[in-house]
């Protein structure tokens, strides 16, 4: 048990202990204990980072006879451990405010602690099996947290769909793991390079791993559960469905992309790009503040997966890092808004953007951090988002140049999504914070508590500033990154300037278009914006507002996004339901077969024997002479039978 591992175990166990102690302690002091535990573990993780700066420390032990598993702390895992524990600490802090008057607060913090524990386990594990153990625990804790308010209608269903979708992906993941363990003899991630990759099983195992990653990181076929997971408390969405859990899939891809065959890697790239595009489009038509952020997460994850696909694993990791900060920031500000509405305007739906507006007057700090994170997400220079996203786009350009003509779809989708992202984030910022207040009643001035609300928002906002990572805003080579992720190979792009040249105008253009249609003066029209179902009526409104050129672009946008969204709501999601339903119908059939055929067989045998009984009873009638007759007949038969042998 080397020295770093002792510290790692302390970091690992602290959140769990914090959660348990809080569960036992009173409702007042419990949450603070949990947050303190998280603070301690994030400090320790920074200290751990310094310890493992040069050589990774490995610990191995036999878990099952003949199977050895273990932990490995190298630069990537420790830095992510630091990220997760830091973000989780901020979320804990915010949750104290957010969940103050909720009866189940003790249960909430216990579950949050359990989640952080399992997430850290995923990051520390070296053996695929150990990773799978914590992988499932992460899925389980997300199920618990999504279904936290189990009394509300639709929440348990959302939790169940989330867990089952994850479960389906994890089944594929498990098959992949077992194939690797059985055929290559070792399951250690660090030894994946060394195994010989001939044999049919490598492809199948690769697909399994990709399946697992796509399930957890909500990529194309599996992303339907993420918007539904918004049913959980907002800090939960911030921590799990923005910063950490969904990133686990990307982390897995980064770790195991080594053994995947090249064809598979390029499909991953395309899938990532596609998800980015679909996520962005679906976010356009949303009215619920959290749904917009959820779809934007899907789209950003698409970027990371695309990054891994095109070979820019370090850029993808960096995007994961920055995305954790600004997306958590966005979600927490959304959480602050929802909490504000919940406290003051109980009757009005706190999540619907249509009755917000001019909230900047009421929540200045939230508005500031929201703005910073939003711009970082949109990818404007001087912000962290720009650095990481453009790194990926640059690499995708270079990759597509090498990969061949068909590969250009990836960068095209990537750049197009930059514009879309800028558009819907700009729209959301304008609609929520600027313009006039769209509610009947007047906004109530409410001073947010500094420590539990403002501090996390400010920290996250700072975290998503560009200069935090590199002094020169345009150069993708980052000194700070070296510190965090170890020595980076400098990006020697021949067309180093091309990516920013395309992405910046797109981002600014997207923002401008959003500004055009949701200027503060005009944002009042957003009040009766009715999307799903009556979508036609809304697109009409947008139509006469803008000139024909502009209007065709907007309507086209809405139509496609509505189709995409429709696609999601009517086809993919129902597919899973239908699958569920078919399971039920099919199993009802099975049950019927069970009752009809197999049981009836037994009854049939019983019936036959009863029939036999009846027939025999005839002989034992009452009249003796009949008996004698049968007996004599029997003897005669025997005599006949014998004499044909004589």
């Amino acid at each position: 048990m080397t020295y770093p591992h002792i510290i790692f175990f302390i970091i690992l166990v602290l959140p769990l202990l914090g959660g348990l102690i809080n569960f036992l302690a009173g409702a007042r002091s419990g949450p603070w204990i949990a947050t303190a535990a998280l603070l301690l573990s994030s400090i320790l993780s920074v200290f751990l980072l310094k310890l493992t700066v040069d050589l990774p420390s490995v610990l191995r032990f036999t878990w099952l006879p003949g199977i050895e598993i273990g932990w490995r702390l190298d630069r990537i895992s420790v830095s992510l451990i630091a990220l997760v524990s830091f973000i989780s600490m901020l979320i804990h802090l915010f949750s104290i405010h957010y969940m103050k008057d909720d009866p189940g607060i003790k249960r909430y913090f216990a579950k949050l602690g359990f989640f952080t524990f399992s997430m850290l386990g995923v990051l520390g594990a070296d053996h695929l099996l150990l990773l799978f153990v914590f992988w499932e625990l992460v899925g389980f804790s997300s199920y618990l947290l999504i279904g936290f308010w189990y009394k509300n209608e639709g929440v348990p269903y959302a939790a169940r769909i989330a867990f089952i979708t994850n479960r389906i992906a994890d089944a594929g993941f498990l098959i992949g793991i077992i194939l690797i363990m059985v055929n290559s003899g070792t399951g250690f991630i660090s030894e994946l390079q060394s195994i010989d990759q001939t044999g049919w099983w490598v492809g199948a195992a690769g697909i399994g791993l990709v399946l697992g990653a796509f399930g957890k990181s909500a990529q194309v076929p599996f992303f339907t559960w993420l918007p539904r997971a918004m049913a959980g408390p907002t800090p939960v969405s911030a921590l799990i469905h923005a910063a950490t859990m969904v990133a686990a899939g990307v982390y897995l891809l980064i770790r195991t992309s080594v053994i995947m065959p090249p064809a598979l890697v390029s499909t991953v790239a395309i899938a990532g790009a596609l998800t980015a595009f679909i996520g962005a489009f679906s976010a356009l038509a949303q009215t619920d503040i959290k749904k917009v952020l959820a779809y934007s997460t899907v789209s950003q994850l698409g970027y990371m997966v695309m990054g891994v696909g095109v070979g820019a694993t370090d850029m993808a990791l960096f995007h994961l890092w920055t995305h954790a900060f600004f997306k958590a920031g966005l979600f927490l500000s959304a959480g602050a808004i929802i909490h504000y509405f919940h406290k003051h305007f109980h009757s009005i739906d706190g999540q619907d953007m249509r009755n917000m507006g001019n909230l900047k007057s009421v929540m200045p700090v939230t508005q500031f951090s929201y703005l910073v994170c939003m711009l970082s997400l949109a990818g404007l220079p001087f912000f962290s988002g720009f650095l990481s996203k453009d790194g990926i786009l640059l690499k995708s350009l270079e990759w597509s140049a090498l990969a061949g003509p068909w590969a250009f779809i990836v960068p095209v989708l990537g750049f197009f999504t930059v514009g879309l992202t800028a558009y819907y984030m700009g729209k959301q910022a304008l609609v929520v914070f600027y313009g006039k207040n769209r509610m009947e009643t007047e906004l109530v001035k409410d001073k947010e508590d500094f420590l539990t609300v403002r501090l996390p928002l400010i920290i996250l906002a700072i975290g998503s500033l560009g200069l935090f990572y590199s002094f020169n805003p345009f150069v993708h080579h980052f000194q700070i990154l070296d510190f965090w992720f170890g020595h980076q190979i400098p990006l020697s792009f021949s067309m180093g300037w091309l990516a920013p040249a395309i992405s910046i105008p797109l981002a600014v253009g997207g923002l401008f278009v959003a500004f055009r249609s949701y200027r503060p003066e005009r944002s009042f029209t957003y009040r009766d914006y009715v999307a799903r179902g009556h979508y036609r009526k809304w697109s009409m409104h947008a139509l006469y507002l803008d000139q024909f050129y502009h209007e065709s672009m907007v309507k086209a946008f809405n139509m496609i996004s509505e189709i995409i969204y429709g696609l999601d709501r009517r086809f993919i999601d129902p597919v899973l339901n239908w699958l569920g339903m078919s399971f039920v119908v099919f199993s009802k059939l099975m049950d019927l077969v069970d009752k009809l055929i197999v049981d009836k067989l037994v009854e049939f045998v019983a019936y036959i024997s009863k029939l036999g009984g009846d027939f025999l009873r005839l002989f034992h009638g009452r009249r003796v002479q009949l008996h004698i007759f049968w007996a004599v007949l029997g003897t005669i038969l025997i005599l006949l039978w014998i004499n044909n042998f004589m």
Partner: protein
């Protein structure tokens, strides 16, 4: 002059089948008993006919024993029949159906 044994056997076979017929057909219990006696006597006849060929004449010995036993059987049968008559007031076999299965 000695009678050819075949005739004796033929007669006893005839008696045997008549006895069987009486047992099966007749309704009255006494006739059934008579039927049984007929078969027994057919067997006796057989014995006597066969013992003619046997120097030790064991057939006739057997005949004597079977007559004695037939008498014993008749005695027991009639005793039980008497008992039946006490209850059923008739010896008609079709009446004897108290024994439901």
């Amino acid at each position: 002059m000695s009678i050819d044994p075949v005739y004796g056997l033929g007669l006893s076979a005839f008696l045997f089948s008549m006895g069987l017929l009486v047992i099966i057909i007749k309704r009255n219990a006494i006739f059934v008993l008579i039927g049984i006696e007929l078969i027994l006597n057919a067997a006796n006849l057989n014995f006597v006919v066969f013992s003619s060929a046997d120097p030790a004449n064991t057939g006739q010995l057997f005949g004597v024993f079977s007559v004695v036993l037939a008498a014993a059987e008749a005695a027991i049968a009639l005793a039980i029949l008497l008992n039946i008559f006490k209850f059923y007031k008739s010896t008609d076999l079709h009446q004897l159906n108290r024994l439901k299965y």
